[in-house]
């Protein structure tokens, strides 16, 4: 037909010219980047990776898990299609194959004619370990050339972004510094199931301009239950602002390409909110960029980022809040759901006994429900068999599961092809993974987390004692749980039911505001030290200095943190860390002394970590390394680190060396003084490190002996104590010198 030529030509340049007469592509084409792997797996045991040769293929990516019988990623893609996005780039992490396979078979496939996107491309990033790595890679490839939406693959939303996009464009045209607009949804002041549990995002937003001024996250586990604001916010940035902890953040961002460039500049940022947003807002003076927040009152937006949110969003779907993305609208082409009375949505092909009591539920095709069963507030997938007199409440049953007569399931997730015997009781909070079989008459007393594989994907032998003779699964333990810090709020999000009951929460009062201001700095000013400085230093959540030395303190904190991260990585190149450090130095106009202090603190902290029991994190034994080993590892594990210490940390003659040793000593003295001595190991770190530095030719005899003679080295008890530990080393040095060269004797008196 005559149309053909025209069609192919036009489809090549974009299927839907959404604006007639608009010439420039950058203005007209809306692009989106979908992060289908968020590097934060909170769906265990459903997303455990299994070796390929196993028959049972499991879904390992959370974006393919069914939410109300529709894979999560469908909601994201529908949302993008609804908003007229035309070019979509999907990053799916390590499991690209699975998602590509799924998309390839769906209507979104580029080959299928029904795909509303003109471009749907998978982005592969080798060796990415965080969202930050992915976005930095995106920047290098420059795939996006105009405004784009940055969304996650597990997002459910029905917002129409036209107004926000228009506002964003207007702001961007007004100033190139306006780089990003976040889409947030108001969640009300009261308790709400769809607010993220455990981690509360706090946004400080200017009431008039909607500029976001500060971002922080709070959680019930942190010891200081308050938020510190940079006084500059009140002084310079805004006259009227709101601090909002009620917002539901679906992490939908309208970005300009400069956002990616900013990610590239800060190579240690990992998370879009906690690192990137927080960092960019904090350094507003430095980068000059501004980020805005559009807060929606209507509509719906949420991210099924963990099982609790999965639960909440499923309820919202049942409650029709996500309209039009509800089962009865049959978003997937093959679906055939119909609404019946009692708000039961049943797909054609499903059957249920007449006396089965169904209420507020979704039932997929080919599912059969026996007589006398009760299904309330539940979602049942396709091809399930529910026996007679079964009670399902607030539960999610995925495809192909069989539940025997008389079994009761409440508030649990039963994944695909699970077989539950007769007269079982599955209590609230249970998570039963794919293919698990449970014998008749098993009653769990507490929430059970069962899987047929271990966390590394190896098959387990059935715990028949627990699951009866047919049992083929075992309780699932995630070793990462143990590794998690007690204060890491992500542990709160691992279960289906959010609970603080078993936790021992501290209750600091708000009046500690001032005294804790410098807790991130490990500064040598005693009054700034708080008891938990060592702990809070690892969390970027903590406060910022509010006094005059804000710049210096933040330089110190940032520099130490950056170096520490690089050191913790152990392997890897130190050059980037060095680059960052120098950048920070220039930005803050830091003096040599400050640099020296920061470097010394970072290395000391790393060494202390290695000595201490936290060494477990690295997979080592329970007690930590020997001081001399720790010193060696801290200083030499990273390629380039010794050079860095030599050039940046010491960087000069004898006086500089003395200063550096003093800085080391001071940093160590905090640990020493606080009694965190790890059985004397911390104290012996100083001579160990000095020896190591000496061996590396970074410190010379003159420097060490100079320090030995320096009066500053004995200020205070802790310092003196530490110094004393080095006596053996110094004596050895002295004697070695005498043997080598008599001329150096006079250096003692210097």
């Amino acid at each position: 037909m005559s149309h053909k030529g025209k069609n192919s030509a036009s489809s090549a340049k974009g299927k839907k010219p959404s604006k007639a007469g608009a010439e420039s592509k950058g203005e007209d084409v809306l692009q989106a980047v979908v992060l289908a792997d968020s590097f934060q797996d909170r769906y265990k045991p459903f997303t455990v990776e299994t070796p390929r040769d196993r028959k049972l293929t499991l879904v390992v990516l959370q974006c393919l898990l069914p939410l109300a019988n529709t894979p999560l990623i469908e909601y994201t893609l529908e949302f993008l299609a609804m908003n007229g996005v035309q070019e979509v780039y999907i990053y799916c992490g390590a499991h690209t194959d699975q998602v590509e396979d799924y998309i390839g078979r769906s209507r979104w496939a580029a080959s299928s004619k029904s795909c509303p996107f003109s471009v749907l491309q998978f982005v592969r990033v080798a060796d990415a370990r965080s969202v930050g790595d992915v976005l930095r890679d995106m920047d290098k490839r420059s795939l996006v050339d105009g405004d784009f939406l940055l969304v996650h693959g597990d997002m459910v939303s029905n917002l129409i972004l036209d107004s926000a996009l228009a506002a964003h464009r207007k702001r961007r045209e007004a100033s190139a510094a306006n780089i990003m607009t976040m889409i947030l949804h108001s969640g009300g002041t009261e308790e709400h199931r769809t607010k993220t549990k455990g981690i509360t995002p706090v946004f400080v937003v200017d009431t008039k301009t909607q500029r976001c001024l500060h971002y922080d996250e709070m959680n019930p586990l942190q010891s200081d239950h308050y938020l510190s604001l940079d006084p500059a916010i009140a002084d310079e940035l805004s006259t009227e602002f709101e601090v909002r902890a009620d917002l539901i953040d679906a992490q939908i961002d309208i970005c300009t390409p400069e956002v990616l460039a900013l990610w590239s500049e800060s190579f240690d940022y990992e998370l879009p909110r906690r690192n990137f947003l927080h960092g960019v807002l904090k350094d507003w003076e430095l980068n000059g960029k501004m980020i805005y927040a559009e807060i929606f009152e209507d509509g719906y937006a949420a991210r099924a980022s963990n099982l609790q949110m999965y639960d909440a969003i499923s309820r919202d779907i049942l409650g029709r809040w996500t309209f039009p993305f509800i089962p009865e609208n049959n978003i997937l082409p093959k679906q055939a759901y119909k609404k019946h009375s009692n708000n039961v949505v049943i797909e054609t092909g499903a059957s249920h006994a007449h006396d089965a009591k169904l209420q507020n539920s979704v039932i997929g095709t080919d599912t059969d429900i026996g007589s006398g069963s009760k299904v309330i507030n539940s979602i049942i997938g396709t091809g399930c068999t529910i026996g007679a007199n079964v009670t399902l409440e607030n539960s999610y049953i995925w495809d192909g599961t069989t539940i025997g007569d008389g079994t009761a399931v409440s508030q649990s997730v039963l994944a695909g092809n699970v077989v539950v015997g007769k007269d079982c009781t599955i209590p609230a909070g249970s998570l039963i993974s794919y293919g698990v079989r449970i014998s008749d008459g098993i009653a769990f007393s507490a929430a059970a987390v069962l899987s047929t594989v271990t966390s590394t994907g190896k098959p387990v032998t059935g715990a028949t004692a627990l699951l009866g003779p047919d049992g083929n699964a075992a309780p699932f333990f995630d070793p990462e749980d143990d590794e998690l810090d007690d204060e890491d709020p992500s542990r709160l999000q691992k279960s289906l039911i959010y609970s603080l009951a078993h936790l021992n929460l501290s209750s600091s009062s708000i009046s500690t505001l001032a005294s804790d201001a410098g807790s991130d700095s490990d500064d040598d000013d005693g009054n700034l030290l708080s008891a938990d400085a060592a702990h809070s230093s690892r969390s970027r959540l903590s406060s910022f200095a509010s006094d005059d030395s804000a710049g210096k303190m933040s330089f110190h904190a940032d520099a130490v943190h950056g170096l520490l991260d690089a050191l913790r990585a152990d392997s890897g190149d130190f050059d980037s860390a060095k680059l960052e450090f120098m950048g920070l130095r220039l930005a803050n106009n830091a003096s040599d002394a400050m640099m020296r202090k920061a470097v010394a603190t970072a290395f000391v902290r790393r060494a202390v970590e290695l000595v201490g029991p936290e060494q477990q994190q690295q997979g080592g034994g329970g007690t930590g390394l020997d001081p001399s080993k720790a010193a060696e590892r801290a200083l030499t594990a990273c390629r380039g680190a010794p050079k860095f210490v030599n050039e940046v940390g010491v960087g000069g003659g004898e006086a500089a060396q003395v200063d550096f040793i003093l800085a080391l000593q001071r940093a160590l003295s905090h640990y020493y003084a606080k009694g965190q001595d790890q059985g004397g190991k911390t104290a012996t770190l100083l001579p160990a490190m000095l020896q190591q530095l000496y061996a590396l030719d970074i410190l010379e005899e003159e420097g060490i002996l100079g320090w030995w003679a320096d009066a500053r080295a004995v200020e205070g008890e802790a310092m003196a104590g530490l110094k004393e530990k080095c006596r053996v080393l110094v004596e050895w040095l002295e004697s070695a010198e005498e043997e080598d060269d008599d001329d150096d004797d006079d250096d003692d008196s210097d």
Binding site: H3, A81, G84, S114, S186, G188, F323, N343
Partner: protein
């Protein structure tokens, strides 16, 4: 509206613009998505979109004879109906187009077909002659040229006496695939002679396209034509109650306002959250400019006014075969109140909204909407503790309606069935059901 065109979100306007630029299959799928996502909703936009896409189907899909064209159209139609099953208008337009194709085909064929076809004995005698004609049309895709082909918009005289009469009749509309051998299968007008005649196909294509253009015109002119009867209906001094006036109702009232002096009560839904305070503000301004007194009344307070109201005017979203009216939620209570007080209830509707369907399960006609219409999602306790349902439409029982005004004039309920048979071929009535079983 510049704000609309500059946005990226899809709507009817963008969809229509995109029609030319993309392959047919993509257009159909994109319309289905839009309907499913309710980005095109409401009877008029749905009707317009359906007419446009069917025009594309006729113009661009591959077909070599009438049957394949009918199959193409009904396949597409079925998908569209499935995308928004509660919007009866979509099915109506599909039926209109199917009927149109049948008419055009029989007309064209009439020139070459065996004249005796219409005289041939029909399988039964209880079928009245006029309907047997239609029936044979369906059977053979051929009919005599004796009767002028009735193009849907034109009300032909003969078919109005053509209501479903017998059980046999219902059965006889089953598809030809059932193996029933018709006596006309071998007559001179059989399909094979038709096949391959490109000039005839070309002629049929352009005829059908013209017909669909007429349907599109009809949809666009409905409001004007309905408004034409406004002066007859509204008398000076009347107190007229309208419920959430649609554009059709607004035009109707404004037309009456040019000549008459009367009072308008606007029944409004409870104020939506965040929305601007005064609903229908522009309508009220226009009315005031015409010197009409306007009063906004909440739905709840209506009973008090009802005794004084002379006429209730309701804009229909669809009318089912029994005369029941699908209208905006809230209208049913008003009509019931009107019935109690003996007030006349007038329903305004384009003929294209009149559906031959009469579902036995009335609740299936009701469209349920977004829960956040009246309750804020930010209200945590309410969201978590209560089940919230928002009905967008309601079914008004036929006995509560006194008069139907369409673009063809004023009708009583009894007259609706003849309107239906004027506009739809009986064999198309259940197109979305009976072909569903076929692959």
């Amino acid at each position: 509206m510049p704000s609309v065109s500059s946005g990226h979100a899809l709507d009817l306007e963008k969809f229509l613009k995109s029609l030319k630029g993309q392959p047919l299959e993509a257009s159909i799928n994109s319309l289905i998505s839009l309907l499913k996502r309710r980005q095109i909703k409401g009877s008029e936009p749905c009707a317009v979109a359906t007419a446009h896409i069917l025009l594309q189907v006729v113009a661009r899909s591959k077909w070599h004879d009438v049957d394949s064209l009918l199959a193409n159209v009904s396949r597409t139609g079925r998908k569209l109906v499935g995308a928004q099953p509660n919007e009866l208008v979509i099915g109506n337009i599909v039926r209109r187009v199917l009927g149109l194709i049948r008419d055009e085909a029989s007309e064209d064929r009439g020139d070459t077909a065996d004249e005796s076809a219409s005289d041939a004995p029909t399988p039964t005698d209880i079928v009245p002659p006029a309907s047997s004609q239609q029936w044979t049309t369906r059977r053979l895709d051929s009919a005599s040229s004796a009767a002028p082909a009735a193009r849907p918009p034109i009300v032909s005289s003969y078919s109005s006496i053509n209501p479903p009469k017998s059980l046999f009749h219902l059965l006889s509309t089953s598809p030809p695939a059932d193996g029933d051998v018709s006596p006309f299968r071998n007559s001179g007008a059989s399909t094979p002679t038709w096949r391959g005649n490109s000039s005839q196909i070309h002629a049929l294509r352009s005829e059908v396209i013209d017909g669909i253009e007429e349907i599109k015109d009809e949809i666009s002119q409905v409001d004007d034509q309905i408004a034409a009867s406004a002066e007859v209906q509204i008398h000076p001094g009347d107190l007229v109650l309208v419920h959430q006036p649609s554009t059709t109702v607004e035009r109707f009232i404004l037309r009456a306002a040019q000549k008459r002096k009367f009072t308008v009560l606007i029944a409004v839904a409870p104020p939506r959250r965040h929305s601007a305070e005064s609903q229908h503000a522009t309508f009220r301004k226009k009315l005031s400019a015409a010197g009409i007194t306007v009063v906004n009344v909440m739905n709840g307070g209506l009973m008090a006014y009802m005794s004084r109201v002379n006429k209730v005017i309701i804009g229909a979203r669809a009318i089912v075969a029994t005369g029941g009216v699908v209208a905006d939620a809230g209208a049913a209570a008003i009509t019931r109140a009107a019935k109690e007080q003996g007030t006349a209830v007038v329903v305004l509707s384009g003929v294209y909204k009149l559906s031959p369907e009469s579902p036995f399960d009335e609740s299936s006609l009701i469209e349920w909407g977004d829960s956040s219409t009246f309750v804020s999602f930010a209200d945590g306790p309410l969201v978590c503790g209560a089940e919230i349902r928002t009905a967008l439409t309601e079914l008004i029982q036929p006995e509560l309606v006194d008069t139907y005004i369409t673009n063809l004039g004023t009708h009583s309920r009894d007259h609706l069935s003849s309107l239906i048979s004027d506009h739809y071929k009986r064999e198309d009535a259940d197109f979305h059901i009976w072909e569903e079983a076929e692959p």
